[in-house]
């Protein structure tokens, strides 16, 4: 890869970081492999152990909603810390610090993680729906929840990854730090997914959609405000 030119604005820098992340990922495919394979392995385990027939019809929406978000959450935990941890391991963080403004770095990495987790979601959710016999009564609400939930997961994880990349015992610490931050949107997303599976009426889920939008906005804003201090440390 040619040396990145110093980018003045936040947006050009973010786009440059984003493209670099995807390019580097395309060359090694470490995060993609671990995310996709982990998600797929967990899905196979769940589908084999629980399957579509072993649940009573009244339990199905709740259990499936929980399992789906557990698969997505732990996939995020396996792959998304790499963005920042890799920079510290490879010793490239200092160069990146010099060549791009902090907000641009965070935005670029956040977009890369959103793309990565989004790809996993697109891959795993149809499989989950088929293998588990998960019937969705309100597909638009379901898709909206997946979008908001994935963004929230990626946003909080990206910031947490920046924190743990400076610490020892990175792998274990990443999940420990991310879980308290991600519990509120996950609880909301699970409850809302159950609503989407049982009720065809979109308005039944608007409270949860509002909760997720608010969470995504708040956590992303906080991440951008605080990232400066974390990144320069």
């Amino acid at each position: 890869m040619s040396a990145p030119r110093p980018a003045a604005g936040i947006l050009p820098a973010a786009i440059a970081v984003f493209r670099r992340e995807l390019l580097a990922e395309w060359r090694t495919r470490v995060a993609v492999n671990s995310l996709f394979l982990f998600a797929f392995a967990v899905l196979v385990l769940v589908a084999y152990a629980v399957g579509p027939t072993r649940l009573s019809p009244e339990d199905r929406p709740t259990v499936n909603a929980v399992l789906l978000w557990i698969v997505l959450f732990f996939s995020a935990m396996t792959g998304l810390s790499r963005t920042f941890v890799h920079e510290e391991d490879a010793g490239t963080a200092a160069a990146l610090r010099l060549s791009a403004p902090p907000s641009g770095v965070l935005l670029g990495k956040l977009l890369a993680n959103v793309a990565l987790l989004g790809a996993v979601t697109v891959f795993i959710v149809p499989l989950f729906v088929v293998l588990m016999g998960f019937e969705i009564m309100d597909p638009p609400l379901f898709v909206l929840l997946l979008l908001l939930g994935t963004f929230g997961l990626a946003s909080a994880s990206t910031f947490t990854a920046a924190l743990v990349s400076k610490a020892s015992a990175k792998g274990a610490l990443f999940a420990v730090l991310a879980i308290p931050l991600l519990l509120p949107p996950l609880v909301g997303a699970v409850l809302a997914t159950r609503v989407a599976a049982t009720e065809a009426d979109f308005s039944a889920g608007t409270d949860f959609v509002r909760l997720l939008v608010a969470y995504d906005g708040v956590v992303t804003t906080a991440a951008f405000l605080l990232f400066d201090a974390v990144w320069r440390e």
Partner: protein, 223 residues
């Protein structure tokens, strides 16, 4: 200097007498509240102040974290870390006392009532914060990163403590700050309850000061 010392001694003595008086008041003076099983309402004099102090400590830790990021003085980090350590202890105590009350009142130690969920979240945040501190060796790096984490946590926690519980029915007795905007307690309970709130906050403040002094001494000896 002598005046400050004797004032400190006086306050500590007051705190000791006050805590003793509250124990007496909680078990012998206040009558059991109606609509509670047996004597179980007495736990309110301990459980609620503990929960309140643990929440307060969390906001104090976040406040001092913000001050640290602004001013970069290590004393602010001591204050934040001390508040978090004590907040964690009070949070464990509030969880345990709440669970005992739940057993007596609703015949189940734990049923994921929204209040129980939110205190578990607070425990997890405290645990994560202290875990992060443990994983960082350099004092300045530890101060900066844990301050950033505390501030992100302080904006996400209210979603589970305030937003999600409003979407369910809670079994938890009405909180002191309730929808009707007034305190509904008999006079004897109210007296002991608010004295206990003040005493627990005093206790927290005293322990917090000790913790900060210990942190400073440890740092000065290491230097």
């Amino acid at each position: 200097m002598q005046a400050v010392k004797s004032l400190g001694f006086l306050l500590k003595a007051l705190l000791g007498i006050g805590m003793a008086a509250i124990c007496w008041g909680a078990f012998l003076y206040a009558r059991p509240a109606q609509s509670f099983v047996g004597e179980s309402s007495r736990i309110v004099f301990f459980h609620v102040p503990m929960a309140w102090v643990s929440t307060l400590a969390f906001f104090i830790a976040a406040w001092h974290s913000a001050v640290y990021l602004k001013k970069r003085r290590i004393e602010s980090d001591d204050a934040a870390a001390g508040a978090a350590r004590l907040g964690f202890v009070f949070c464990v105590l509030a969880t345990v006392t709440g669970s005992i009350f739940a057993r007596v009142m609703w015949n189940s130690y734990w049923n994921w009532d929204p209040r129980e969920t939110s205190i578990v979240l607070l425990l997890l945040v405290y645990g994560a914060y202290l875990g992060l501190r443990g994983a960082l060796d350099d004092p300045e790096r530890r101060a900066t990163l844990s301050a950033a984490y505390a501030l992100v946590a302080v904006v996400t926690v209210p979603f589970l403590t305030f937003a999600v519980p409003r979407m369910y029915q809670s079994l938890h007795p009405d909180t002191v700050i309730n929808a009707r905007g007034k305190v509904e307690m008999s006079a004897d309970i109210r007296t002991v309850f608010f004295s206990s709130m003040v005493a627990f906050m005093g206790l927290f403040y005293w322990m917090w000061n000790l913790d900060r002094r210990v942190s400073r001494i440890v740092r000065e000896r290491a230097a």
